[in-house]
């Protein structure tokens, strides 16, 4: 029996990767521990090691093939006496060694949007497709080019180029004075960042994830957010705290928390949580220019998602302005960050059932711009909020309260919240799925408020 070599999952959020290079060829003798190939994920290049002995059989995925899904058969290893010809798995397309032949069986298209999204970009603006990760990096690079006081500091931001590769290339362009690797010391470097900001610099402090920012939250709130008030307006703290927030995938309770409502609670902070790459770029540039402390909540799962980003000299998006993403008539969905994904998925299902949903992306959580939400509710008379935060005192709770204060007479149904379930994030795949909000949850909530 031949042994199949499968595309390995090399990170919690990886779904596909690039087969960068084979280091062995067909017919080579293989021992366990030999490095067979190099696999590129969106975060790093990893080595694929053999755990078996044998002869290298057919190579089914050629060097340079992109978007190879996890568990795809890459090649086979033959046991002694086996013939290479007999080894090709019957379920795959005929073994091919040319790049073009293989690419044809693998999807290379960018993730599809189910619904066309509205845009606030001037018509005719040239667009470029890029990932959220690249958009964030470009935002920082552009601001660093304009303003010598902007620097980035955090764990693994420089030589490693970011634990999630958001700071890729920055050390190379700006050097170690402005791209600073810190020890693992969140409380300390958050305080240093806040102090440097009080002295007038513009630090961008990266938390490897916001889960670790709990160690630093005293400086974020007591030192950064309150300084202006306590000093009677004399002293500002123009610092950006950024990093991935919220659940990623299968990383358990301590690495899967959404802190949106924690920071949105604090006067003196601005809080941003974008969904698209264009918003990520435009909002991060605004955050870096803002004279206040800004919490910039990114999402690990969105990092690799591709969007159109306007090609403009200085593309910025104002903080505190929400945006209608999709026009609809029957129900209003309000969400932000990765929550938008569930909404878009649900809207496809709802649309098939004849329910037209309007979707608002909050983009900023403080200040919270409910204008478009109220406007929409006055039209649809129904509201469902969607977020990955826990329900108690969450963003949805705040929206429900404000809408009931300001548009009570327009509501034809109670406001429903779709949130993460009120439990610590479980590790088991099935339980994690249950704990997270889902498109099905959104569909169910929409049907409930539509009495369908």
């Amino acid at each position: 029996m031949s042994i199949e070599i499968l595309m390995p999952a090399l990170s919690p959020t990886m779904e596909e990767g690039t087969l960068a290079k084979w280091l062995v060829k067909e017919g080579d003798k293989i021992s366990s521990g030999d490095i067979l190939a190099e696999i590129e994920t969106d975060k790093a290049t990893m080595e694929l090691e053999s755990i078996d002995d044998g002869i290298m059989g057919k190579i089914l995925i050629a060097d340079g093939t992109e978007n190879v899904p996890i568990n795809k058969v890459l090649a086979t290893i033959l046991e002694d006496g086996e013939s290479a010809n007999a080894s090709a798995p019957a379920t795959t397309s005929p073994p091919a060694v040319t790049k073009t032949a293989d690419v044809s069986v693998i999807s290379t298209s960018a993730p599809n949007e189910p619904v066309a999204l509205e845009t606030d970009v001037p018509e005719g603006t040239p667009m470029r497709q890029m990932t959220v990760r690249e958009a964030l990096r470009d935002a920082m690079a552009e601001e660093m080019r304009i303003n010598p006081d902007v620097f980035i500091m955090g764990e693994e931001v420089a030589e490693y180029e970011g634990a999630y590769k958001v700071t890729q290339g920055l050390l190379n362009e700006f050097g170690s004075r402005r791209v600073i690797d810190t020890p693992i010391t969140e409380h300390g470097f958050a305080g240093l960042g806040a102090g440097a900001a009080m002295a007038g610099l513009r630090p961008v402090i990266e938390f490897m994830t916001f889960n670790f920012a709990m160690q630093a939250i005293d400086h974020i709130i007591n030192s950064a957010a309150k300084t202006r008030y306590m000093s009677g307006g004399q002293m500002s703290c123009p610092v950006v705290f950024r990093g991935p927030n919220g659940p990623a995938s299968r990383v358990g309770a301590q690495h899967s928390q959404d802190y949106s409502s924690w920071y949105a609670h604090i006067p003196g902070l601005k809080v941003v949580a974008p969904y698209s790459a264009a918003d990520a770029k435009g909002l991060l540039k605004s955050a870096i220019r803002d004279p206040n402390p800004v919490i910039f909540l990114e999402n690990e799962i969105l990092y690799g998602k591709i969007f159109d980003v306007p090609e403009m000299d200085d593309w910025t998006v104002p903080i505190g302005v929400s945006k209608r993403l999709v026009e609809g008539s029957d129900v209003t969905l309000v969400s932000f960050s990765h929550g938008i994904t569930y909404c878009l998925e649900a809207m496809e299902i709802l649309s098939a059932q004849g329910i037209s949903a309007e979707l608002i992306d909050l983009r900023s959580l403080r200040p919270l711009d409910l204008g478009p939400v109220l406007e929409s509710v006055k039209k649809t008379n129904r509201l469902v909020t969607v977020e990955e935060t826990w329900p108690v005192a969450g963003i949805g709770a705040e929206i429900a309260a404000q809408v009931s204060e300001k548009a009570f007479d327009y509501l034809d149904a109670p406001v429903m919240r779709v949130t993460q379930k009120d439990v610590p994030m479980p590790y088991a795949a099935n339980l994690e799925k249950l704990a997270l909000p889902s498109a099905a949850d959104v569909v169910e909530a929409v049907k409930a408020v539509c009495y369908r």
């Binding site: 020890p183 010391t185 305080g191 102090g195 900001a197 008030y229 104002p318």
Partner: protein, 369 residues
Amino acid sequence: MVSRSKTGSRAAAKKPAAKRKPTAKRRAAGKADSSSPAIIPFTHEEDLAAYRNMLMIRRFEEKAGQMYGMGLIGGFCHLYIGQEAVVTGMQMVAKEGDQIITGYRDHGHMLAAGLDPKGVMAELTGREGGLSKGKGGSMHMFSKEKHFYGGHGIVGAQVALGTGLALANSYRDNDNVSYVYFGDGASNQGQVYESFNMAELWRLPVVYVIENNQYAMGTSIDRASAQTDLSKRGASFNIPGEQIDGMDIRAVRDAGVRAADWCRAGKGPYILEMMTYRYRGHSMSDPAKYRAKEEVSKMREEHDAIEQVRARLLEGKKVSEADLKEIDKELRAIVSEAAAFAKASPEPDPSELWTDIIAPLSSEEGASA
């Protein structure tokens, strides 16, 4: 109001250690020079300035205590009485642009940094004329102009923030030093050591001034600290440290010069443990039953920082008892004026509740979509 001497003027001559009081053992850790240079005497003018500046703090704090008793000052009020030599001596070392940051026992530091006593007192009373328009209170005052960065109520927070100020100096390559004051209590906070690590790693120009007044609120240092010699607390980071008689302003100034020179030479941070003592309770509401009255009176009688200078001045015979009384009278007048201002200044307008939360975007900071 504080005389400032240029750094670098310290004579290099190093002599054997002078005999010291038990609380003033001089020790060295890490890379610090282990020989203890003799204290450089103050000139008559320096002594006179030290006397005036320390007495200013004491008279101010006495008045603050009195006003607290009258219900004019609310909340917490931590007096600096007894510790005056520390910040006054260190400020003799500071040069223009050097930053100061401290904890909640901050009135003395603000006065030493040159802030208007009226503004400080009116902040204590929570009035419009206060340095923070009455919105900060005793523990939260700032001055960009005087490079005074607060005034922090979270024990130890100023250590990381002050190290960040030093990071800014290093980033700008501007030859300034950040003086970070904290107590023996704060020195047990984790972020202090996170800051020490980065400060030494990146050779940041920061002088950590540990004001060891022996009590973290009501807990004496030997009940709270496994290593009670706080000058050694930087040893595992290779930060030099010295234990200094913080009741002798000349020793403070000397050590300050050594530390600031070290920083300005690009050698990184420096720790000065100032052995000092607060005569009053931790705050106005602390009866200080955790220590014997005799301990306090002994310190006052034998080691008082102001009395030491006063004795030297009188010994020098360039001023008379009457001259010093005259200075005291002047200071009392300044303090009374500050108190009158703090009482007369109106409470902040209710509209101030909603101001200074978020800085407005300036025109060039405006974002467009």
